[in-house]
Every structure is written in C-alpha cells, then in structure tokens.
C-alpha cells in the first residue's frame, strides 16, 4: 500500500493509447439491449429537472463507455451537464433538490454488468462508496465540519465492511499515509478545518478509495485548490489509478487538467456530447467549433504574451429553451458554413470524424472542419 509510484512520468504516457480502447464509440445502443461488455456504459442518459420555469434538460441523451484502468475526461462549461452526469451515475442526482419535485432520469447506466437506473435504490446505495466513489470540488464543504477526518473515513469503510472501529481506524491511517498525509496516525484525529486545502482533498481521496472502488469520479477535483497543489493532486490521482486499476472519470472545465490525465475526452455542451474521442485526437485535431473555443480560451505558456485569449462569445445556452438545431449555433462563428440554414433547423447527430473512434456533432463536413482548424484556428493557438 505504501509504495508510491514514480512521479514525473513522461507526458502523454497515459494518453497514447491504441484507438481500439477508446471509451467513445459511435453506436448509441437501443434501450433494453443486452448487458454491454464495457465496464461502464452509459446509454442515452437523460436527466431532467422540472422547475417552475419549465423542464431543465441538464443532460439530454448522453452515451459513452469506459473500461477499467482508463480515464475519461468530461469537459464543458458551467451548466453543460457534466456534474449532473456524474451524480446520475452515482444515483445522487436528486441530492440538493431535497423534497422538491423529483428529477426525471432515463436511459441506462451499466456498471460491471449491472444496470443501475432500473435497480433497487438500496442496491445502488450499497454500490456507492464501494464500487463507485466520488471526489468533490470543494473538500472543505464536502467534509463534515463537526467530525474528525478519521471518523469520516472510518464511517465510509464500515458502511461496507463489518469490522471493528480499530480495524477501520488502521485502514484509515493506512490510506491517509498512502495519499501522502504526513503523520497520519496523528492527523487522523484532526478536523477538516485543521487541514490545508490540498491536505483536505487528499483526505477526501483517501475516503473515496478506502473501499477500493472500481470506478472513481472526480468532479472538478482541483478547482478549489491553488495551482501548485493542483498538480500534486492530479499526480496522486494518476498514481492511485495505476495502483488500484480503477476506471476514472474526471470532470472539469479546465482542459489542462484532462490533458495530463485523460485517455479519452468527452466535450459537453448544453447537456449533450458535441465531441468525443481519444484525448490526443481531441486536442490536436479537434472536430467541433466549441472545442476550438475551449482550446482558444485556455492560457498557454508557449503562446506569445501579446496575444489575447480567444473567448467563446456569448453565454451558455438555456437548458429550458435549448436553441433549435445545433445548440451551439448562436455562438458559433461558422454557423453559416453548412448550407440551407441547417444549423438552425436540424440538430446534428454524433458522427464519426476521422479515424480512431473520434466523433463530432457538427453539420460541417469533415473537410470544412479540417480546413478551418488548420488554416484559421490552429495558427492562432
């Protein structure tokens, strides 16, 4: 448990994977089809929240696959449905909506051959924390302020293991040591407010991993941390993934984060997937104008300082009145490239874009996209 993997492995070591292992595949399996072979498969997931203003379609038809030992990065701006997706997988999409009108969820989520959405909620509860666990954005608010770190980890362990408190405490100390908390036998009795931000996130990770989960979902795990600590936490997640062999979903709005970690990328916009594929492909040959926008608005050290960042104009779409046709068309500089006003009338489906399991939901032809990317966008980045 205590052998730390070597840090500082070459960049891209995890990213350069054969295309066949890519999480993203084209087919959206029909509902009711047999259990998939993938470790995690999400089929046509829809999570809608009824509100007084109308139906909020937070996630509206999302499908993807993830194998064990692989990392999927879900990228998108605020309100694109990334967090709701992860909460939906965990069966926690109603949390925070307590007692109000219930969220409507449909589709299929297959974890290890078991379908979760149709399963008994108590069965899903038993999987939570044991087979799938989650790291949240702000570790200070995600940890209970009145209980010690140790007590919270012990609790997480004892929900799923019938062991004495002493055994669980040993396990907690072992995990705190593993995630790099100094003097774990003393710090186990500290309260969250006595930890620094990075230490709290490490403790949070220790808690998430205490039951050796096969699926780890990290929802913006570094957003609340300062930059030096961010890299440490990402390294830690990568090392732990190697060690535990779990499947990891990293949700972020920061492309830099997934660039380091993800094997595959899924770009979300307005509750839908607009592009997905192997991380390298999405980074170096992006096939959707929104992805171009994300790349253009990312600060880079190798860029000339006199250059300005290129923001994505406009604001995120309303999830109640999603724009007609392509949800991105009001903000897309290339909305008029395809003929017949099709971007405003018809919603683009995910279609294969290039080889190696790279998909994009854009009305432009691949030739048009490639030309715009290589001639207009890439030189400015």
């Amino acid at each position: 448990m205590t052998d730390l993997s070597q840090p500082g492995q070459p960049e891209g070591a995890t990213g350069a994977l054969p295309a066949t292992t890519a999480a993203a595949t084209g087919e959206v399996a029909a509902a009711g089809s047999p259990a998939p072979t993938a470790f995690l498969e999400v089929r046509d997931l829809r999570v809608h929240f009824p509100t007084d203003d109308g139906l909020v379609k937070s996630v509206d038809g999302l499908s993807f696959r993830l194998e064990k030992g692989k990392t999927l990065g879900i990228v998108g701006e605020s309100g694109s449905g990334k967090s709701v997706t992860s909460l939906g997988i965990m069966g926690l999409h109603t949390a925070g909506q307590y007692g109000r009108r219930k969220a409507r969820i449909s589709g299929e989520i297959w974890l290890n051959g078991q379908e979760l959405l149709g399963a008994d909620p108590d069965e899903v509860r038993k999987l939570r924390g044991r087979e799938m666990s989650m790291i949240f954005q702000d570790p200070l608010s995600a940890l209970h302020p009145y209980y010690t770190i140790g007590r919270q980890i012990i609790e997480a362990y004892r929900v799923h293991h019938e062991v004495t408190k002493e055994v669980a405490r040993k396990r907690a100390i072992e995990l705190l040591d593993r995630v790099g908390i100094p003097q774990p036998d003393k710090r186990v009795d500290s309260y969250p407010h006595e930890f620094s931000g990075g230490m709290r996130q490490r403790a949070m990770i220790a808690m998430a991993l205490v039951n050796n989960p096969e699926l780890l979902i990290a929802d913006e795990p570094t957003t609340a941390l300062d930059v030096t600590v961010q890299a440490q936490i990402l390294d830690l997640i990568r090392d732990l993934q190697k060690e535990f062999g779990s499947a990891v979903i990293i949700i972020t709005h920061d492309l830099g984060v997934v660039a380091e970690l993800a094997d595959d990328l899924l770009v979300m916009y307005g509750g839908r997937c607009v592009e997905r594929g192997p991380a390298e492909k999405v980074f170096y040959e992006p096939q959707h104008p929104y992805t171009w926008g994300l790349l253009g608005s990312m600060p880079r050290i190798d860029r000339d300082q006199t250059d300005r960042l290129i923001p994505v104009k406009g604001s995120p779409p309303s999830l109640i009145n999603v724009p007609s046709g392509c949800a991105f068309h009001p903000r897309c500089p290339y909305a008029d490239v395809p003929k017949d006003n099709i971007t405003r009338t018809e919603r683009p489906e995910l279609r294969e874009a290039g080889d190696g399991g790279h998909f994009s939901a854009c009305h432009m032809t691949q030739e048009e996209r490639t030309r715009i990317w290589t001639e207009e966008i890439a030189p400015k980045l």
Binding site: G99, L127, R128, G129, F136, L143, Y146, Y147, T148
Partner: protein
C-alpha cells in the same frame, strides 16, 4: 479553556453589577429626577408626613445615590440593617429589602416562586423540544407535502396566537367545561400527581408557542443543511438515508437550536409572565406582575435581578456548549 471560563465569569460579574446598577437607578434615581419622592412611592398614597419621613430614614433615601447603591449591594452579599431611629430590622443576605405591600422580606418570596417557574419552564421545554424538532425535521424531509403544509400552518398559528388566548381557551375547555384537569397549583413536594395535573395545561400552552418557533427554525435549518456538500458526501459513501439524516444532518441542526434554547430558557426562568398570570401560577412572572400593579418596588427589583442572572448564565452556558458542539469554535 480555563482562562476563557475565568474571563467569562469575570465578565458575568461585571454584567450583573451593571444590571443591578441600572435597575437600582430606574427604581431609586429616576423618580427623584422626575420630581417625585421615592419615599412617596414606597409609602403609597395618602401617607402622613411622619410615615414618609420614617421611610426616608429607614431606607436612607437621604444619602447620596452611590452610597445607597453601595448599601443595596452590600445587602445582597452580607445583609443589612434597617433602622428608623427606634428599632432595627436585620435583613440577612441576600437582602433584597422588604416588600411594601406585605412587609415580608423579598428573598423568601423569590425562592418560593422560583420552583414554580422552574417546573413550568422545564416541563414545557421538554415538550417543545420533542414536538418542535420532530415536526421541523419531518416537515423538512417531506417538504411541500400535505404534512409539511399543515404542520407549518399550525406552527404559524402557534407563533401568532398569544398565550392569553390559547391559555384562556384551554382553561375554558379543559378545566371549566369538561372539568378534566384541576389547575390549582400544588408544589411537587406536597403532591406530585396534583403538581403534574395542575401544570399540564400551562405546559402544553407554553410549549405550543415555542414548539411552533422551534419547528420553523428546525425546518429551515434542516432544509439548508440537506443541501450542503457534506450531506452529498455522506450519501456518496453509501450511507443509509436514516444515517445521513440522523448522524450528519441532525448534528449540524443542533447549533442554532441550542442557541435559541439557551436564550429562551434564560428568559423564561426570569418568569413566564403571561402563562403564569393566565393560569394563576405563583411563579416569578406572576410575582413581577403583581409587584408592578402594586408598585411594590423592592419585589420588582428582586425579580428583575433574578431574571438578569438567569439570562447571563444562559448566555454563558450557550457559549460553552458551542465549543462542545462545533470543533471550529476554539475558546480562548
């Protein structure tokens, strides 16, 4: 922690001194400014000049105000002698003086009334905590349901209806019409069953008012806490909803409840004026009301001081409890 306690206790003493001085000033100094003679207030209407002079001498009303205050404080701690030239009355500590109406020492009146108020407050408190918190939690968890709406409507009524209304109504129904309960107060030591019977209606009436407030507070707090990130974390661990609510949400709900409880209990122990008056319970509240009606200044002074002491102590207890509940509060 010990240093904090000592500092706080010191502050309590100072606070009580200030309260005493203020009360003293109100009853002894202000009448003077207003042009009335305190001696007149003490003696009552249509007294002959001789009696007024006797009182003035007995209470040393001719002395400077600070000297009078000193005598008063001295009386509280070591007792004092009242002399009107011919005979001397010793008033043992703690001396709050003598009631002008009954000419009895004030302190024994206070100690007689206190157990009544204590019985009333303790019983009602137990009822309203159980009733209020349970209602609040259930309402929060079933937000928007028929249960929630009805409970909150009843709670709104509870907060809005004054004690003298609900109290008189309950008396009219359960005591006078149905004759189910006898409301003549009996001390616990005399007859526990009668004590219980006589207090049932006051308990319920008082508890109804407070339970309504506590239910609303608990519901609001609970709703806020159920949306906290750490509740989501607790669920993400795979805990049963029962544990999520009982262990994680309730733990945080206690903080505002205890804050309110400390202040409410402190204030109540100084006399539940309306309840005691409505049910004719011989507690501190009724003592105060009667004293005010009779302009019985020493008694008013005594009740005020006792009430102040309870409030100050309640505040101290709440502050200490904070440190116990919330590890982020470090006393020092």
């Amino acid at each position: 922690m010990l240093a904090y306690l000592i500092r706080r206790l010191f502050a309590v003493v100072v606070m009580l001194l200030v309260v005493t001085l203020t009360t003293f000033a109100i009853f002894f100094v202000i009448p003077k400014w207003a042009g009335t003679d305190p001696a007149l207030l003490f003696v009552g209407k249509q007294a002959d000049p001789e009696a007024i002079e006797g009182i003035r001498q007995k209470l040393s009303l001719g002395d400077p105000v600070l000297v009078q205050f000193w005598h008063f404080v001295q009386g509280l701690f070591v007792g004092r002698d009242y002399a009107n030239g011919t005979d001397v009355t010793h008033c043992p500590a703690p001396c709050f003086g003598y009631s002008f109406r009954t000419e009895q020492a004030v302190w024994p009146q206070l100690t007689d009334a206190l157990p009544v108020t204590l019985s009333l407050a303790a019983g009602a408190c137990l009822l309203w905590l159980v009733g209020g918190i349970t209602t609040g939690v259930v309402s929060a968890l079933r937000r928007g349901t028929l249960w929630d709406r009805s409970a909150m409507t009843v709670a709104l009524a509870g907060v809005s209806l004054p004690i003298y209304f609900t109290g008189l109504l309950s008396l009219a129904i359960f005591s006078y019409s149905l004759k189910w309960v006898n409301v003549d107060y009996k001390p616990f030591g005399d007859d526990p069953a009668m004590w219980f019977e006589s207090l049932i209606l006051p308990w319920i009436t008082l508890a109804f008012l407070y339970a309504a407030m506590y239910a609303r507070l608990t519901r609001a707090t609970m709703l806020e806490i159920m949306g906290e990130d750490y509740i989501r974390t607790a669920r993400a661990k795979g805990l049963r909803e029962r544990v999520v609510i009982g262990r994680h949400a309730m733990r945080s709900t206690w903080t505002p409840i205890l804050t309110l409880l400390g202040l409410d209990l402190g204030a109540l122990l100084g006399g539940a004026v309306l309840t005691e008056s409505t049910y004719n319970l011989p507690g501190l509240g009724r003592l105060a009301v009667n004293a005010i009606t009779d302009k019985d200044l020493p008694v008013i002074l005594g009740v005020t001081l006792i009430a102040a002491i309870f409030i100050v102590i309640a505040n101290l207890v709440v502050d200490l409890l904070y440190a116990v509940i919330d590890p982020r509060v470090r006393l020092g």
